[in-house]
């Protein structure tokens, strides 16, 4: 621990020789890409990797695990690929699908089926919960509130529940296996939004309405339970704590143990057994 007492601990500088990490291609990998598009692609990203490596070497910053990525080419190549995909999909569909713009709406006749836009189906479905509106025997089998008031209140309850979630869970999990319960809540909520949307278009759903009504509330519970069971099972053999350790800031002047440069889940197994313990700290720090 005497190294921590040095006033200016810096990892950059020195000889300038950077040992190869996992992203550095081996010589056989460099030789295997000789011609055509693989070579072009390889040279392109090899150049970017080289620039990144040079930047790291010239940097005066304390080296971290993730230094950041340049906008070109990393960000822009990805964005161009995504944009090309969606533009191509728009062109393909608009060129091949038959046009289906119907007759203009007739303002003097109400259509048989009135629906909001699809992204509001869940809210529209909540207005159709009249069957859940309890009739109180105290009031002589009369309902406490009208069905429409009940539907509006259901919207308030659902929106309020969604608004409360960030206060109950801060969302510090990187992936669902870390918090199976909240992942199950999320999957149940998504399913509930979907089934509620299906309930709202019950007029055109090819299904028995009462069955649809039951499924609307049962399916989210089933999906949530399955999600919880699957994630809880996955979590047993999942060494997410090692990956979480990897993404933390690397302490200055104290590189990783040289035997394991990157503690991925696969290598974590050997690392762990060598240390003989499941503590988070690497061997050299104990």
């Amino acid at each position: 621990m005497s190294d921590d007492n040095q006033p200016d601990a810096r990892t950059d500088g020195g000889t300038g020789i950077v040992p190869p990490d996992d992203e550095t291609p081996t010589w056989s990998e460099r030789k295997s890409r000789r011609a055509g598009l693989p070579r072009l692609t390889y040279e392109y990203f090899e150049r970017a990797r080289r620039e990144d490596q040079d930047l790291r070497e010239q940097s005066t910053y304390v080296e971290r695990d993730v230094l950041g990525f340049p906008t070109w080419p990393h960000e822009l190549i990805r964005n161009l690929a995504l944009t090309s995909f969606f533009v191509g999909m728009l062109l393909l569909l608009s060129a091949t699908l038959p046009p289906h713009i119907g007759n203009p709406a007739n303002p003097s006749s109400t259509p048989a089926i009135i629906l909001p836009d699809w992204y509001l189906y869940w809210s529209f479905g909540l207005l159709k919960l009249g069957d859940l509106n309890p009739a109180l025997s105290l009031l002589g089998e009369q309902k406490l509130m009208a069905d429409r008031t009940y539907g509006v209140l259901a919207n308030v309850v659902i929106v309020g529940a969604i608004a409360i979630v960030p206060f109950l869970n801060k969302g510090s999990a990187r992936r669902p296996v870390e918090q199976p319960f909240w992942a199950a809540v999320g999957m149940g909520g998504v399913t509930f939004a979907f089934t509620m949307s299906m309930l709202s278009i019950q007029n055109i759903m090819p299904m028995n309405v009462s069955l649809l009504f039951d499924l609307t509330f049962l399916a989210p519970i089933v999906v949530g339970a399955i999600t919880y069971a699957v994630l809880k099972t996955m979590r047993e053999g999942y060494m997410y704590d090692l990956n979480r350790r990897y993404y933390r800031l690397r302490p200055p002047n104290r590189p990783w143990p040289t035997t394991t440069t990157v503690p991925t889940a696969a290598r974590g197994a050997t690392w762990r057994s060598r240390c003989g313990s499941t503590r988070r700290l690497p061997c050299s720090r104990r």
């Binding site: 699908l97 038959p98 289906h100 119907g102």
Partner: protein, 89 residues
């Protein structure tokens, strides 16, 4: 395993896209119908191109299903079976 997933997924998505295009022409009486994309195709297609389009739609439908099934279920199951049967040396 990831490669097999991607092959199955690619087959499924591309074939389903082509099926959707074909079905929107030949299996859609109206876009406000509840039978859109799944209605029966016309009994007597007008031209040979219509026949080809209907056939292509059916072909792509089964390509999507069987392709995904092949790469997601059959091939991995076959590998598991082979690993279970072959004795390591």
């Amino acid at each position: 395993m990831a490669d097999e997933f991607m092959k199955g997924f690619g087959l499924f998505s591309v074939a389903a896209l082509v099926w959707m295009i074909s079905a929107s022409w030949y299996r859609t009486p109206s876009f406000e119908s509840t039978r859109q994309l799944v209605a029966a195709p016309p009994e007597e297609p007008g031209t040979v191109f219509d026949t080809l389009g209907i056939f292509l739609g059916d072909l792509m439908f089964w390509t999507a299903l069987l392709g995904a099934f092949t790469f997601w279920v059959i091939i991995p199951a076959g590998r598991q079976a082979r690993e279970a049967l072959v004795v390591d040396e």
